[in-house]
């Protein structure tokens, strides 16, 4: 057994402080969104829900929310479909240039986002594309595929090939095998990828900022509001709702991902 290390008693304390540091910013937004004052100061002034109520009447905000929803759904579907292709190619086959192809697809993780944004802006305008939600979707998909792929690769890995081979031997077509054998096993990973990419798209700012033209998504709308101090409480309420949405979506995604992991492990054990 590992011997207990002398500084260990301090470690849990350090972990607690670290977690406080991690969670403080996202817990403060909800706290002040219910605060009955236009400024973010202590002590708190009292409880109110008026900042949330003020969101409903705001038509610009609702339009931005609709834009975000459209973009999020399109981005999550597209990047998950493309992620499935790539993840399956990587986990199921071996071919020349595999590492290079995988590297290119994963590259957005290792690039400053502003460079991706600038290059997409240039190519869009170069080909005469009008900046719109379509350009935002195209750009965010590039950015989301790596995340979709890492979720899917972990779901596809360890998937027992002999199940598919049995299905081929019994006369199923490639598509039939995918639908009836592969899909049920990897379905949780796919749903998890859909949720994760939707969340990333919902929160993504830089690409949307450069590529949205006159159709703001929620983060672009918030960016515009930050200039006005008086708008802050409304932004805090909206931000709290967005954080809540992200946390719920990610929790569901995580539960599904773990279920997928257990299922592939169970399939391996048989």
């Amino acid at each position: 057994m590992l011997q207990r290390i002398r500084f260990l008693p301090f470690l849990p304390l350090y972990v607690a402080i670290y977690f406080l540091f991690l969670y403080l910013p996202i817990l403060l937004l909800p706290v002040f969104s219910f605060n009955d004052a236009a400024t973010t100061t202590f002590p708190l002034a009292g409880f109110t829900t008026k900042w949330y109520a003020s969101l409903w009447g705001n038509s610009v905000l609702l339009q931005a929310a609709r834009n975000s929803l459209v973009v999020g759904v399109c981005v999550s579907l597209l990047s998950t479909i493309l992620g499935i292709c790539a993840a399956r190619a990587i986990t199921r086959y071996r071919f020349r240039g595999q590492r290079a192809a995988g590297g290119l697809i994963m590259a957005p993780l290792f690039l400053p986002e502003i460079i991706v944004a600038v290059s997409l802006l240039m190519i869009a305008l170069q080909f005469g594309l009008q900046l719109s939600l379509v350009t935002v979707i195209l750009g965010q998909v590039v950015f989301c595929i790596p995340y979709s792929m890492s979720v899917l690769v972990s779901g596809f890995e360890g998937f027992d090939r002999s199940l598919e081979e049995a299905s081929y031997d019994l006369g199923e077509t490639a598509f039939g095998t995918f639908r009836r054998v592969t899909l049920p096993v990897v379905a949780p990973a796919i749903v998890s990828s859909l949720l994760v990419t939707f969340t990333i798209s919902l929160d993504e700012f830089i690409l949307a900022f450069f590529l949205s033209g006159t159709e703001p998504t929620l983060p672009v709308y918030i960016w515009g509001q930050l200039r006005f101090a008086a708008k802050l409480p409304g932004v805090l309420a909206l931000g709290s709702l967005m954080i809540l949405a992200s946390v719920v979506l990610l929790t569901v995604a995580e539960v599904l991902r773990r279920r997928a992991e257990r299922r592939t492990q169970a399939a391996l054990a048989h």
Binding site: M1, L2, Q3, I5, L11, V15, Y18, L22, Y23, P25, I26, L28, L29, T39, T40, T41, L82, C85, A86, R88, A89, R92, Y93, F95, R96, Q98, L104, A107, F110, L111, P112, E113, I115, V116, V118, S119, L120, L121, M122, I123, L138, V142, I145, S162, E165, D203, F205, I206, F210, P219, I222, L226, V235, L236, G239, M242, I243, S246, L250, E254
Partner: protein, 305 residues
Amino acid sequence: MSTAAIASSPEKPAPAKGIRWLHGEEARGLAMISPTLLYALALLLVPVLLVIAYSFWTQNYLEIDRTFTFENYRLALTEPIYRDLFVRSLWISMLTSAITVVFSYPIAWYISFHGGPHKNLWLFLVTIPCWTSYLLRVMSWKVILGYGGVLNTGLMAAGVIDQPITSLLYNANAVVITLVHSWAAFAILPIYVSLQKIDRSLIEAARDLGDGAVRSFLRVTLPLSMPGVISAFLIVMIPTVGDYVTPKLVGGKDGVMIATAIQAQFGKSANWPLGAALSVTTMVLVSLAAAAVVLSLRFAVRRLR
């Protein structure tokens, strides 16, 4: 017998090489990845090549002069304002990644060695804040660190200080604090993965042979987790060098970074070639700095052993 084995079995009459290749495992793999690969080629590689091409051209009012020139790079590297921004951006990104790695390492170590049966839950809790909106988190730090912000008014209400501290917001420190917070999970995860891979019996062996806790950590655990530390360093350092939101919201005058200058060339200044040259220079500089960091970390670890 597996289908793949049948396809490649030598008894089968071997068709011409090209045709066999088309029907083999390779072709199917390539076909499978091609939609994603084509997408990445069209919307990642081609755009980046276009940026590189532009960086050698010149903006002539509304026209683009396509004569090859190094003028943009000369401007990017000699103009004091850009030089300062490059130096500051590199410095901030290196400082951020160093702090993030140092402060995250114990967390990764704790989860890996003392996480018990709930390691996945710990990791999930670490990643949650990093998945929520980046813009909102930066905004939250602005609220925390501001003159009339949470920290100042909180400390004043608690009687710790009489006057608000003015040096919290709108400087490079505020940028570093915010970035360290934003990238914490990206540092913890790779370090955790490399710690998980360490064979625990090696550490026991070191202890059995008389190394103390600290020595066995320095000579076994730390060197073996170095791949994770290095990838954590890179995955934080390279993206943060081009961060736009954080310097803009909490950086003030002393915290401006290169992304602001790049954005300006695509906005009101409308000088795409210069913006492209600034982008390419940023990438080259951060790659060089990253290589230097990797080499010196490797060297340091070899000395430790």
